[in-house]
């Protein structure tokens, strides 16, 4: 889970726009990483410690932001970044094209810091949920891999109730179940068995004592 400052990639070839973005996303809440062309932005998103959120100018030398969105989405990946396109293009057709390319949101230039932060924070929330979900799935997969299954047809001895395990070994029913599930046993004696086995044995011992 992403704690501490939120790393955000800022990609725009205009230094005035970059400065405005930096001014809107100040530490300690945010940790902006700036680049000034599309290829650098794309590389940053592919790097090992890639920011999970990026603000990309729609049109940049090297690679336009919209193309970065397309590529990042094509590549998939376990933790896809949240991508915000920065654009002058406020027309519905352009916005739709941005979303179809894989952008999660867009901000129209010139932007106001408050709106930008609000949109970034939506991204932060989504990325957080995504990471949480990915963490849960990973934990679940791990648990599933280690889970002991108790299912199918079990060959059991009709007389002593031992179970033949996968290794063709006849095993006590409780040890078999303990191995194949999270169940544990505490041994006790039921009333029927007490009557049938324990009572006669006790009687036998008493008799032996008396005789002695």
């Amino acid at each position: 889970m992403e704690r501490g400052p939120i790393r955000i990639l800022i990609a725009d070839d205009d230094p005035v726009t970059r400065r405005l973005l930096l001014a809107a996303l100040v530490p300690p809440t945010y940790e902006p990483v700036e680049v000034s062309d599309g290829v650098e932005a794309y590389r940053a998103l592919q790097s090992e410690n890639a920011p999970s959120l990026a603000i990309l100018d729609w049109l940049m030398p090297g690679m336009p932001g919209v193309e970065i969105c397309r590529r990042v989405r094509e590549e998939g990946g376990a933790n896809p970044p949240y991508l915000i396109l920065l654009t002058f293009r406020g027309r519905t057709a352009d916005i739709t094209a941005g979303f179809e390319a894989g952008a999660d949101d867009y901000v129209v230039k010139p932007f106001e810091a408050q709106e930008l932060r609000a949109r970034v924070n939506v991204g932060v929330r989504i990325v957080g949920l995504q990471q949480k979900l990915a963490g849960r799935v990973a934990a679940l997969e791990e648990a599933l891999a280690g889970v002991k299954t108790l299912q199918g047809l079990l060959p059991i001895c009709a007389w002593c109730k031992k179970i033949r395990n996968d290794g063709m070994y006849w095993q006590q029913v409780e040890s078999y179940i303990a191995e194949h599930s999270d169940a544990r046993f505490s041994h006790s004696i039921c009333p029927d068995c007490r009557e049938k086995h324990v009572a006669p044995e006790l009687e036998r011992l008493r008799k032996r004592q008396r005789d002695a």
Partner: protein, 133 residues
């Protein structure tokens, strides 16, 4: 100069002033210090951009014309420099459509407008009006 903007920016900017400081300050979150810094960044960056734009026009490279015009436009939008911004937008749009001659003609109008803007911003007196805002 600056009157060829097709009037697509209703109200705010007057043709007299190259910058609408109400827009500029709003973009800077009301932070005058930040605005002064932005102007400094802009003045430093712009000459290289203008040269790149003219070179791209000369080379007939509409892709580059588009990129450079777009970057200039971004800065102008941030600074509320609407008259020049409108021209930069037109240069970008014409370059996108591959209409190099018209883009060149528009660059011919954008350049003096940018000169007017830089002359205005290079004179620190523009700051005087901001102190009370």
């Amino acid at each position: 100069v600056g009157e060829g903007g097709h009037g697509d920016t209703p109200g705010s900017a007057t043709d007299k002033s190259p910058v609408d400081f109400s827009i500029a300050l709003r973009n800077a979150g009301g932070d005058v210090t930040l605005l002064i810094e932005l102007v400094g960044i802009f003045l430093e960056d712009l000459p290289g951009r203008v040269r790149a734009l003219q070179r791209a026009i000369r080379d007939g490279d509409t892709g580059d014309v588009r990129f450079v015009a777009h970057a200039i436009r971004g800065a102008l939008a941030g600074l509320g420099a609407t008259p020049a911004g409108t021209l930069a937008r037109e240069v970008e749009a014409l370059a996108e459509e591959g209409r190099l001659d018209e883009a060149a003609e528009r660059v011919g109008r954008l350049t003096p407008e940018l000169e007017r803007l830089t002359a205005f911003l290079a004179d620190s007196r523009w700051r005087e009006g901001l102190s009370g805002s």
